[in-house]
Symmetry: C2
Subunit: 340 residues, 2 copies
Amino acid sequence: MVVDNGRRRPTIEDVAAAAGVSRGTVSRVLNGGVNVSPTALAAVNKAIKQTGYVVNTHARSLVTQRSGSVAFILSEPQEKFFEDPNFQVLLRGCTQALAEHDMPLLLSIADSEQDRERVVRFISGGHIDGALLFSVHAGNPVVSRLASLGIPAVTCGLPIGHEFDLAYVAVNEAEGGRLATAHLARLGRRRIATVTGPLDTPGGRDRLKGYKDGLEEAGLALDQKLIAHGDYTRISGQLAMEKLLKQDPELDAVFVASDLMALGAMDALARAGRSIPGDVAVVGFDDSPSATSAIPALTTVRQPFKRICEEMVRLLLALLDGQEPAAVILPAELVIRETA
Amino acid sequence: MVVDNGRRRPTIEDVAAAAGVSRGTVSRVLNGGVNVSPTALAAVNKAIKQTGYVVNTHARSLVTQRSGSVAFILSEPQEKFFEDPNFQVLLRGCTQALAEHDMPLLLSIADSEQDRERVVRFISGGHIDGALLFSVHAGNPVVSRLASLGIPAVTCGLPIGHEFDLAYVAVNEAEGGRLATAHLARLGRRRIATVTGPLDTPGGRDRLKGYKDGLEEAGLALDQKLIAHGDYTRISGQLAMEKLLKQDPELDAVFVASDLMALGAMDALARAGRSIPGDVAVVGFDDSPSATSAIPALTTVRQPFKRICEEMVRLLLALLDGQEPAAVILPAELVIRETA
DNA sequence: CTGAAAGCGCTTACAG
DNA sequence: CTGAAAGCGCTTACAG
């Protein structure tokens, strides 16, 4: 039963009165119940229910000097955010992982210079305890600012240039690239091309490394004509594929460093009249929702996004707890569907 | 120049000392500068810069009883959230509109019974001042709870069942449906089908109404065989289109109540060997990013998402200011591309 | 195990 | 226009 005395929200004082104890005891119950007698505990819990008490987080934060919330920072130009299905998965995953700790997620989008200023100001203003960072190109100013301010932060993907002063969670990018390439070689493909991401991102750099490893492992020569670059957008995948087809019309496979770019590459292949996987086998990266809905369904390297989010939140909470920044590398996994 | 005295953040006390005034005066400057002499104002502003002072929002919220943040609540099953590109646009638009008022956006996802409980608890706990609500089916429990708790809330789209106790922003759905249908009729199409959204959503219900209006206006008869229903997912659009083709193989146009479903419908048409727009003209709804990237590019009814977000935030701030709930209806606009 | 008390950093009547 | 002071609702040594 919830008692509503007028309009005002019940405070710890009301609970104390109802339970016949002091405010201190109520507070102790609220904070884990240590040094509280079973009798008092029961009385307080009953009083909490009875009064419908909910802690005032502002009052609590004022004394604990902790805000109890974290920011999800997207420092990416707007178009990519719009287009990339991975962000939604990550946003949701983090929201849920945080919710399990009863922490709200503050969304901050910092894709312009001005926004970045605001976001950094906001964060250094102590409004949040820590940050979850996404889409981190080498040299991203938000990342450096956070790192130099010493604000607890965890990045998704290896933060190039801050490998040692920031915590991060990443899939084993190189291994993923190697798995994809090895799979294509195993299928008997001999002219395996690749579309990379930007080389100032870990996904661009390391998936390419994996591609090279896979080629070498299969005894295939590295050929610069078979390498093109994209920026993770669908259209960039299409353009890169067109370029590759021009450079080497005989190519029979392609490893594309993201599913979205793979979709673009498939558009280009279709327009060029190549069948998939008959003429050209395609492997993507991410296992994003678009991979399954593609026609034909995309063979890809899976990033365990849910797990990534959980680990990011875990790492961030550990940082808030005073632990040192750590890195978590998750295994990549090949998901075989129809395109290869 | 920022002075860092040890590790502790400067407080209003530090600013007062630096400016040679009382805390009260500093606070007055912070809150608009009324009743402050030009001299004091200048001194305080200088001291703020000098000390690098940033207001402690928790302390402020504790006394003002306002949190200064609002929640973006998504009460939608997970799959749709993942798939629907509109959410990203809305999320971004609201984040930005709010940022202009220096208010952070808290993201809450309430797609399960349990999540809903948490979200309602969170909100009634006073952690936020108001809510922005999305994807509102009639009878959504979160909506009713918010409405009955009297928490300032603005919904995106007409909140069926709460038309009069909640503020909302919506595009003129019926007019959009009418425009789409009229356009198809004007193109000479005579067997115009429609794929609706769920009829317990304003978009499902009212776009269908517009379709009927458009038909009538063009002197075309309403035929139940030409109406099928989807749930805004791509696959549902495909299934609905397949059903329509079965029910009336002679249909020559279709108005689909969302772009995403239109994409699904186009998949079905392609599989059935119908050319677009040659055999069947297609008009979508939303003008989401997927409309432009579709091949062929989708003719659609534009929802002014950016404007919608701005109006939602404006309305919410007005509610927080004590104004009565209002409704804003924005005009729909036809965007002609390649499919019709 | 418990209560009384100080204090977190701000805002806002109130008196002048 | 300005300062002194009360108070927002909590946590946490401290003493017992």
